[in-house]
């Protein structure tokens, strides 16, 4: 996984709360067995509407999504993270993320940064007035800046450490094989087995 230290790009306001993973990527697209190529699937039904914010000319080439509260509720589909990444997003800002979505983001290297709803509204105002203003996310300092405005964001310390160093979980866990072996050696015999 690529390390994430800072990112600067333009941002798009998504003024909706409770954006669920069925909206981020409808189930129809989950039949694919690859890990890439989901850019066409992102917000597929909303993108049919020419007025949808991602279709507006001023928000082309964006890489930061500034969303309403409770982003990523619903299904566990990691395809939601892949679709956001394939489309070009590096960061999602929201005042509250669904647990599984946030976990999936951390695994895949998409930064889900939690910002207060007040700060979200502020950033919405800025990027609606000046869509081209560069927005910088500094993972080391845990700050977001847009023009003159700056605020802090929250992210899990361990996820932050992994992202800063580009480390993947499986490799880290593989270092603890001995601990897993010894746990298994004392598992009770009444635990079910599929065989």
């Amino acid at each position: 996984m690529e390390a994430f230290v800072t990112h600067t790009g333009t941002a798009v306001p998504l003024r909706r709360s409770n954006v669920d993973t069925d909206q981020i990527i409808p189930a129809e697209y989950l039949k694919r067995i690859t890990r890439h190529g989901f850019e066409d699937a992102l917000f597929a039904s909303w993108r049919n509407d020419p007025e949808f914010v991602l279709n507006l000319p001023q928000y082309q080439g964006v890489s930061v999504l500034v969303a309403g509260s409770d982003f990523g509720t619903g299904s566990s589909r990691e395809h939601a993270v892949w679709a956001l990444q394939d489309f070009g997003f590096k960061v999602v800002l929201s005042s509250r993320f669904a647990d599984i979505f946030r976990g999936n983001s951390g695994k895949g290297g998409l930064l889900a940064a939690q910002v207060s709803q007040e700060d979200i509204e502020h950033i919405w105002g800025i990027i609606e007035n000046s869509p081209q203003v560069p927005v910088t996310i500094d993972l080391d300092a845990k700050t977001v800046s847009a023009g003159d405005f700056m605020c802090e964001f929250e992210v899990d310390d361990y996820v932050r450490w992994r992202l800063l160093h580009g480390l993947d979980d499986i490799g880290l866990t593989m270092q603890h094989q001995a601990a897993i072996d010894s746990f298994e050696s004392v598992r009770p015999s009444f635990k079910p087995s599929v065989r």
Binding site: R16, A98, W161
Partner: protein
């Protein structure tokens, strides 16, 4: 107090613990400063949709599945529910199902494919085979894994990267969850079901209210429920934002498990029951949050909007955005009403539906089918309404047929289908047409969930059956049927 991170034995001696904390601490493989706990996973369930990229990852790294004996796969999400003996017509679905078959063969994972007697929705299959037991950690690349918490297991949905992690290591690094008690005390009025309880809970705490928590459903109304009812409730914990829901195991739980194919036997059974009994929350244990609901105040619930928190008693009216308490809530109500094509103030009972879907891992078990059949017996569905009955597993289908329920459904004008997820998420040919409205016993009323442009009202099996008969959202009592 967060889930205990002290070593298990020590913690048990000193602090009264909640059930979730006990199960957590009994599965800690390793703890490190500033790191998540490494948790052992007792059972890993797999299906066709969220696993292909995980197996690809294993292949790329040259890793085997560490514990094929603790891993089980079934086909459910995108398979058809008619013509199941023919090749799958949709080529993309077919490739995904064939990929699962190839992966399971290559990695030595037990698979119950379409046509097998054990095939079904992954969360119906686990409990039915006796693989779901108290005190276990259970994961699946599916958010409704919370269903298995009904047995007192710590069960939660994971993403595809985590599926790969569990396949490779049989563990997951996890940060402790907080705990929330949902106390539902008192006697449920006649006609009020487990589905109504959980819709009322989500309406009360909101779709984000459980975020970061494991919910423990407690109280006399919960204890009085069957295992099926408890599964319905735990299933929808995720719709309140929680990772998992749990119910303390008791005699109802033990009776359900006993004699199932993977239930412990002989001396193992006695040891298992002793362990299971030790799992209940200690008196004096502290939850991080508590919610109280008086069961006597509940009535049949339905959703009117586009998230499961937007639910109300069937006797009420479509809400008015003008009554919202915040700008964000007002916008959410306006968006939902526009999508659902509803007018504020309309009685919910006046909402006309085109399709009724009875099935899913929320309400596709035998007891759900029996409840709906009781309402439908000797009646016919309203003209223009389509009723789709989809059993949660092949065994549920066979059981229903042996009880003659299929005939009741068919006589009422319903379609009787093979087992699968079907119209719960519309990955297979069972879909709503754009603008079509459904009453559905599934768990999500998101925009387009049951087909692009489709509109969903979440209901119990009893309300689904009564609605099919009248054509508008209705309870069995409206038909003069006691449920």
């Amino acid at each position: 107090m967060a889930i205990q991170s002290a070593p298990a034995d020590q913690a048990k001696l000193h602090t009264p613990l909640t059930m979730a904390e006990k199960v957590w601490s009994d599965h800690i493989v390793r703890q490190g400063d500033g790191e998540p706990d490494l948790l052992y996973i007792d059972l890993h369930l797999i299906h066709e949709v969220t696993s292909p990229q995980a197996f690809d990852g294993l292949r790329a790294a040259g890793r085997p599945v560490r514990r094929p004996d603790l891993t089980v796969a079934t086909e459910d999400h995108n398979i058809p529910t008619i013509d199941v003996d023919k090749p799958i017509a949709d080529p993309v679905s077919r490739i995904q199902v064939e990929t699962l078959r190839k992966n399971c063969a290559e990695f030595d994972v037990q698979l119950y494919p379409l046509g097998d007697i054990e095939q079904g929705i992954v969360h119906v299959v686990g409990p039915q085979m006796g693989l779901t037991q108290p005190g276990m950690t259970i994961v699946c690349g599916d958010s409704h894994t919370s269903t298995h918490g009904a047995f007192g297991a710590l069960a939660f949905g994971i993403g595809t990267s985590e599926v790969e992690h569990v396949l490779a290591t049989q563990t997951l690094p996890l940060k402790p969850f907080k705990t929330m008690a949902i106390n539902v005390d008192g006697e449920l009025p006649a006609g009020v079901t487990a589905k109504d309880i959980i819709l009322a809970v989500i309406a009360k705490i909101g779709t984000g209210g459980g975020q970061g928590y494991v919910l423990e459903y407690r109280g006399s109304a919960i204890q009085s429920l069957s295992m099926e009812g408890r599964m319905t409730i735990c299933n929808m914990s995720i719709e309140a934002g929680a990772r998992a829901g749990m119910v303390a195991p008791d005699q109802t739980t033990f009776d359900y498990i006993k004699g199932r194919p993977h239930a412990p036997q002989g001396q193992d059974w006695d040891e298992a029951v002793a362990y299971w009994e030790s799992l209940t929350t200690d008196s004096g244990a502290q939850f991080d949050a508590e919610v109280h609901i008086d069961a006597a105040t509940l009535s049949p619930y339905v959703t009117w909007g586009t998230n499961p928190g937007q639910g109300l008693p069937l006797s009420s009216f479509v809400p008015d955005p003008a009554d919202a308490s915040s700008g964000e809530e007002r916008a959410a109500i306006e968006q939902a009403l526009a999508y659902m094509d509803l007018t504020p103030g309309t009685p919910l009972r006046d909402i006309r539906v085109d399709t009724v879907f009875l099935g899913s891992c929320t309400n596709g078990r035998i007891e759900d089918l029996r409840a709906a059949a009781t309402v439908l017996r000797g009646k016919h569905i309203a003209p223009g309404v389509r009723l789709l009955v989809v059993p949660g597993s092949t065994r549920v289908r066979l059981q229903a047929e042996s009880e003659g329920l299929d005939q009741i459904f068919l006589d009422a004008g319903a379609e009787w289908r093979g087992a699968g997820c079907s119209m719960c998420l519309a990955m297979n040919p069972d879909k709503l047409a754009p603008g079509e409205r459904s009453a559905s016993t599934s768990n999500r009323n998101f925009e387009g969930r049951q087909g692009p442009g489709g509109r969903t009202h979440l209901v119990s099996p009893e309300v689904a059956a009564a609605t099919a008969v009248t054509g508008t959202l209705s309870a069995p009592a409206d038909l003069g049927v006691a449920s």
